[in-house]
């Protein structure tokens, strides 16, 4: 990859794109956004490969500590959080003049109860709590690796994860009560 070999990039995509796409999709809930995020992450790997190779020369101890999947997951998580925050800022400022005929959140939850109540549960979480649930529950990452993917120390991440689980349980209970 550091030698700008497209075959190496193709191999990296084949190996890492699936898990990265899962994270991005569960974070954003949008397949186009998720594909864009994964593509951007792979392109950043393509650009940073020479620098990464220089810092972690082959055969050295630094190379053994480099976990490419961890680096990519951190990039994807940060990109997803950034896009969610950007979308919230942009959509929150524009108030449509005509009545918005899209269904409200609770209506959408009811409508998606059959096939998408889980998605609504996860999407109702704040983005960082959502990332914590995605990384630990769905990707089954240890807390340490998940904290590294979110650029947090372990204690702060555990606190965040605790709040995320509590929020999820409360939303799940609220869903059950609504039914």
């Amino acid at each position: 990859m550091a030698a700008r070999d497209p075959a190496a990039l193709r191999e990296a995509i084949a190996r890492h794109a699936g898990p990265l796409h899962r994270i991005a999709w569960r974070m954003t809930g949008d397949s186009h956004e998720a594909e864009d995020i994964v593509q951007e992450a792979m392109l950043r790997l393509w650009n940073h490969a020479p620098r990464l190779a220089a810092r972690h020369p082959a055969g050295s101890g630094a190379a053994s500590t480099l976990r490419l999947s961890g680096w990519l997951k951190r990039v994807v998580t940060n990109l997803a959080i950034d896009r969610l925050r950007l979308a919230r800022r942009v959509s929150g400022e524009d108030v449509p003049e005509r009545a918005d005929d899209t269904p409200l959140a609770d209506v959408r939850i009811e409508a998606d109860q059959g096939d998408g109540s889980t998605r609504a549960l996860v999407m109702a979480l704040p983005e960082r709590q959502r990332a914590a649930i995605v990384l630990t529950y769905y990707e089954d990452l240890p807390n340490g690796e998940a904290a590294a993917a979110m650029d947090m120390n372990i204690k702060a991440f555990e606190s965040l994860l605790h709040r995320a689980r509590a929020g999820l349980r409360q939303a799940f209970a609220a869903q059950g009560d609504a039914r």
Binding site: R10, A17, Q39
Partner: protein, 339 residues
């Protein structure tokens, strides 16, 4: 709110209702041409710009920072050393009275164990010129009243000693001024006087001094004769009797200096300077000028017996002196004769 779990933040147990719901969150697969699309984007994307800062020669980030820090510290130490060496070499430390750097002779003497060669004695420092008035009033101790010619002679001898010191100090001041002026002209690249010109200037100064001292000596002689007659007639003299005329003459000297300064001014400057003086001083100055002018005219009248009369249109001083009349050159020593 809910009766789910007591610890809402506990891990989600597999098989629990919440876990079963969460497991339903299925993810669609990536499209088939995703890799080709990324590769095409990678090919289209320009290669990244080089880093703005060197990363430290392949080492870690901290290592590069360490090298940079060390290099800065080395540059700072070398720079400080160069500045300190330059300061010591130029004698700046001695100027600020910092006895930090010994001279090379001392260092060599400490190495070889020999005494350092004695430093050649510096040129005798000329004492700063004494103020003329205090010098004139130099302490000449007189015990009790002077009522015998011997005591008076002793007093005159002491006064002469002081006068001789003053004369010597003046000569040294003149020499040092000439030297400093020559040095200044040499530093400024101005033409220097030839030895003949310098000797001529010195001779002119010496002539003026001799003439002035001759006049002064005449006055002193007359004054001493008068004092001696007073002592011989049985009168006891005090220190004030001798010193008072000195004070008067000191004032006369100052007045003569003022007149000389005024004489060198342009008529406009002189008029303005006179206008700015207090009325008393202005009157005193004008009166001194009149006396000086009258004395000079008397001297010239006496001299006409043997020499042709100089061209001088005014035969007597003007009743109301104009400031421009101070432009007539005169002999400063005529009014500057002490005692």
């Amino acid at each position: 709110m809910s009766g789910v779990d007591h610890d809402d933040g506990a891990p989600i147990a597999p098989g629990s209702p919440l876990a079963r719901v969460l497991d339903d969150f299925a993810v669609p697969a990536l499209p088939a041409g995703f890799a080709d699309r990324v590769l095409a984007a990678a090919e289209a994307r320009p290669s990244p710009l080089p880093e703005l800062r060197r990363s430290g020669g392949g080492g870690g980030r901290g290592q590069g920072r360490g090298w940079r820090l060390g290099r800065r510290m080395a540059i700072g130490a070398i720079g400080f050393g160069a500045l300190a060496t330059a300061a010591a070499a130029t004698g700046l430390l001695d100027r600020f009275d910092l006895p930090a750097v010994p001279s090379p002779e001392k260092v060599w003497a400490s190495i070889t164990g020999k005494e350092a060669a004695p430093v050649p004695a510096a040129a005798p420092v000329v004492p700063p010129p004494a103020d003329p008035e205090p010098a004139a009033l130099a302490p000449v101790r007189i015990e009790g009243r002077i009522d015998t010619p011997e005591e008076l002679g002793e007093a005159f001898r002491r006064i002469d000693e002081v006068r001789q010191g003053r004369v010597e100090a003046r000569r040294q001041i003149i020499d040092s001024r000439i030297e400093s002026e020559i040095e200044r002209r040499r530093a400024a690249g101005l033409p220097l006087p030839t030895p003949e010109e310098e000797a001529r200037v010195r001779q002119r100064i010496e002539d003026a001094r001799t003439r002035r001292e001759g006049l002064v000596a005449e006055r002193i002689e007359a004054r001493r004769e008068e004092l001696l007659q007073r002592v011989e007639s049985g009168e006891g003299l005090t220190r004030e009797d001798i010193a008072r005329p000195l004070r008067d003459d000191a004032r006369a000297l100052e007045r003569a200096g003022r007149l000389e300064r005024l004489r060198r001014m342009t008529p406009q400057q002189r008029r303005e300077a006179l206008r700015q003086l207090p009325a008393d001083e202005r009157r005193e100055l004008i009166e001194a000028w009149r006396q000086r002018r009258a004395g000079r005219l008397d001297g010239e009248t006496a001299a006409t017996a043997s020499t042709p009369a100089p061209e001088r249109p005014e035969a007597s001083p003007a009743p109301e002196p104009q400031t421009s009349q101070f432009g007539t050159p005169g002999d400063p020593s005529a009014a500057a004769a002490p005692l």
